[in-house]
Structure formats: C-alpha cells, structure tokens
C-alpha cells in the first residue's frame, strides 16, 4: 500500500518537473524569438588603403510578425548601407536598399555577389585581429552583433 503511495508521489513529482522544464524552455524560447536572429557575420579583410569594405551575414525572422531593419551603423565606419550587386547584360551595378523587410519565418542571406552590407569610409585600419560592431535598428528593437575580420579566399588557393 505504502509502495503504491510513494510511487504515485514519485510519478507526480516527475510529471511536475517535466511540466516545469517544458514551460521554462518555452518561456526562454519565446523570449529569444522576439526579434531577428543574425548569424555568421564576417567582414572580408581588404587592402589597407581601401576605404570601403563589405559585411556578409544571415538574418532570420523567427517571430510570427513582420520585422523591418531600418538602419545599420558601426562605430568603425562613417556609414553602413544595404546594397545589392546586380549583374545584368554583363554589367555589374549596385542597388541601395533603404530598408530590409523580413516576413515571419523568412531568412535573408547576405553574401558575395548579392545582397551585402557596404561599410563606408573606415575610421581605422582593420586587421584579422579586429571585429566590427554592427548595430541594427529594427521594428522589433535594436540588435548589436560583432563581425570578425577574416581573410577571404575562393576555392583553389
């Protein structure tokens, strides 16, 4: 009889713990999914005298609502712009995007030869020991990330 009773108690405690863990996890994940997720950011090392650099990264909107990136800035550059390289009829040109709109669940990849951040007029020489702070202003609040400066290479080297 007491065996049965204690096993009921143990089962109840286990169930309570499971519920607690699940709800905490859910709470945490809800908290984390309030705004954009920016990952894989990096800045290709460029010639010391080049005034303009690029940044590549992934932006994901894990929330259920539309989020707009309205401005990006960096303490290391005078200005940061969202640009897209477009090659049409053999001519390469750059198109500026004043903002970036992400639908719920959408992921936008900023990569070579496509959408990228144009980092205008660097304020100091950046080496592979540096990281570039990028501050995003979005409709879901501000986000700051740091993008390491890395040597860029293409296969075959």
């Amino acid at each position: 009889m007491s065996m049965k009773k204690s096993s009921v108690v143990v089962t109840a405690v286990i169930i309570a713990m499971i519920i607690a863990v699940i709800s905490m996890y859910k709470l945490m994940s809800v908290q984390a999914k309030d705004s954009l997720e920016i990952t894989g950011a990096w800045v290709p090392l460029s010639p010391p005298k080049a005034k303009i650099m690029a940044a590549y990264l992934k932006i994901k909107n894990p929330t259920g609502k539309m989020i707009e990136v309205t401005n990006i800035s960096s303490p290391d550059f005078a200005n940061v712009m969202i640009h897209e390289t477009i090659v049409k009829d053999g001519v390469s040109r750059m198109e500026m995007r004043s903002k970036l709109l992400l639908e719920p669940g959408e992921e936008v990849v900023l990569q070579r030869g496509g959408l990228h951040l144009m980092l205008m007029y660097k304020k100091r020489v950046l080496t592979t020991k540096d990281t570039v702070i990028l501050n995003f202003t979005t409709s879901a609040g501000p986000i700051s990330i740091s993008a390491p400066v890395k040597v860029a290479a293409i296969d075959g080297e």
Binding site: P44, S46, P47, P48, K49, A50, K51, I52, M53, A54, N79, H83, T85, V87, G90, V91, S92, R93, M94, R112, G113, H116, M118, L119, M120, A152, A153, I154, D155, G156, E157
Partner: protein
C-alpha cells in the same frame, strides 16, 4: 539528357514489376494485358539502350566542334577573328606608361572596376588569385599571363591607392587607369562598359562596370571574353585550351 538515363533505370524497375505480375497472374485477361505491357516495356528499354550506345556517342562527336569549328571548351570565350588594340594610353600603378606594346608577348586578363567597390571587385580579384595559383608551371612560361585591374574611377584611384589595392590580392597583379578619354579608347575596343550612377562624380558615388574579364593575346589582339559569374575551374581549363589552340604563340 541525364534525365533519360534515370528514366531507363525506372523503366527497368517497372519491367521487373510487370514480369512479377505476369508470373503471378491467373486470369487470361490480366495476362494478356501484362504481356502487352511487357512488350511495351521491352521496346522502351531497347530504344533507351539504342540511344545511349549508338545515337548519343554520335551526337557527342558532332558537338565536339562548335559551329565556327572551334573546340567546344573554348567556343564561348575565344574570338577567332580578334582585333589588334591601338592607341592605348594608360598609366600603371608604378606611374609608368602602359601602351599596346605591353600586351605583346603576354596573355593579358583585363578586369574593369574601382577600388571603392566592396563586393564584385574583391570577389573577382580573389577568383583570379585562385586562378593564378592553379595555373600549371607550363602556363607560367612565356608568353606568361598578366592581370590588369583597370580602374574606371581615375578621379579617386591614384597610382598609390591602386598599387595598394591590386597587390593586396596578388603581388603580380597590375593596376592601370587613365583619364576618361583614354579609358574610353580601351573600353570601346574591347566592348567594356562603365558609367556613374546618376552621372554623379562628386562625394560618395558608385560606378557601374562590366563584370566580364577580357582576354588579350600575346600579339596584342582582343581575343576573348570570360563572362560572369566567374568560376576558377572553368577559367583555368578554358585558358589552357586557348593556349593550345591559339595559332602563333602558346
């Protein structure tokens, strides 16, 4: 073409199913249907085999030479009827004059860009750096290749800035530029284009430019165009084939 091979495999599978069904079938009607299906399947299979063993190799042989009689691997790049470049008046990043004489005895790759360009120009120069690393030793012998980064932004790109920019990607790469009237003499002869967004050349501006790489032969003739997007493997293979094919100098 690749799809056809996969279809053959599927057909084989279908045939197995049909034969199994034929063996299992009890009624006359279903076995007649099954026999018909088997015949159709066998005919389809045989025609597939015929295509892959007899017709396809014949087609490939025909395709090995393009319409102009060029080897297929160079046909999309090589210009059989090249044009000699003339009146070239550029300045290189060591402040030395660069005329058409400096095309002679070398294979020249020309890429048009500007140093304020953060995406396409670095990417193309990195592609060419990888191409340079992949050239076999035979390709580095005379006439050796040279890469010219032609700045179409001479107002901002001084020799000093160009040297720093171009040699960052490879110590042998050479930056060249000129006043617009001289730049235009080069660009019109090789069909390259450039222009300033909204005609702007004050303050911050970007330059639109041809994304292709122009090939000049060791006789100083406009000889080829590598189109974007650039692929390291393709450039290495095509250039080796062009050296083999090109009459006069390899």
């Amino acid at each position: 073409m690749r799809g056809t091979k996969a279809d053959d495999v599927v057909l084989l599978g279908v045939n197995t199913v049909i034969i199994t069904r034929l063996m299992n079938s009890q009624t006359n009607k279903s076995s007649r249907v099954a026999i018909t299906l088997v015949i159709v399947g066998v005919v389809a299979l045989l025609s597939g085999v015929l295509f892959w063993t007899v017709i396809k190799p014949g087609m490939q042989q025909q395709n090995a030479l393009s319409e102009q009689g060029l080897p297929k691997e160079i046909a999309s790049v090589y210009i059989p009827k090249g044009r000699p470049l003339a009146g070239i008046r550029l300045i290189d990043h060591n402040n030395q004059p660069f005329t058409e004489e400096r095309f002679k005895g070398k294979w020249s790759f020309l890429f048009f860009g500007f140093t304020h360009c953060p995406d396409v120009c670095p990417t193309t120069l990195l592609v060419m750096k990888a191409v340079w690393a992949r050239f076999p030793d035979s390709a580095k012998q005379a006439p050796e290749p040279q890469l010219l980064f032609v700045s179409v932004d001479p107002d901002r790109d001084t020799a000093e800035i160009m040297k720093s920019y171009t040699t960052f990607y490879h110590p042998d790469f050479l930056g060249v530029t000129a006043e617009h009237k001289y730049l235009d003499i080069l660009t019109t002869q090789v069909g390259a284009l450039y222009g300033y967004e909204d005609g702007e050349r004050e303050g911050e501006y970007t330059v639109n430019h041809s994304a292709q790489i122009i090939l000049i032969d060791p006789q100083g003739y406009f000889r080829g165009v590598f189109s974007a997007p650039m692929n390291v493997d393709e450039i290495v293979k095509t250039f080796s084939a062009i050296r083999e094919y090109h009459p006069g100098a390899k």
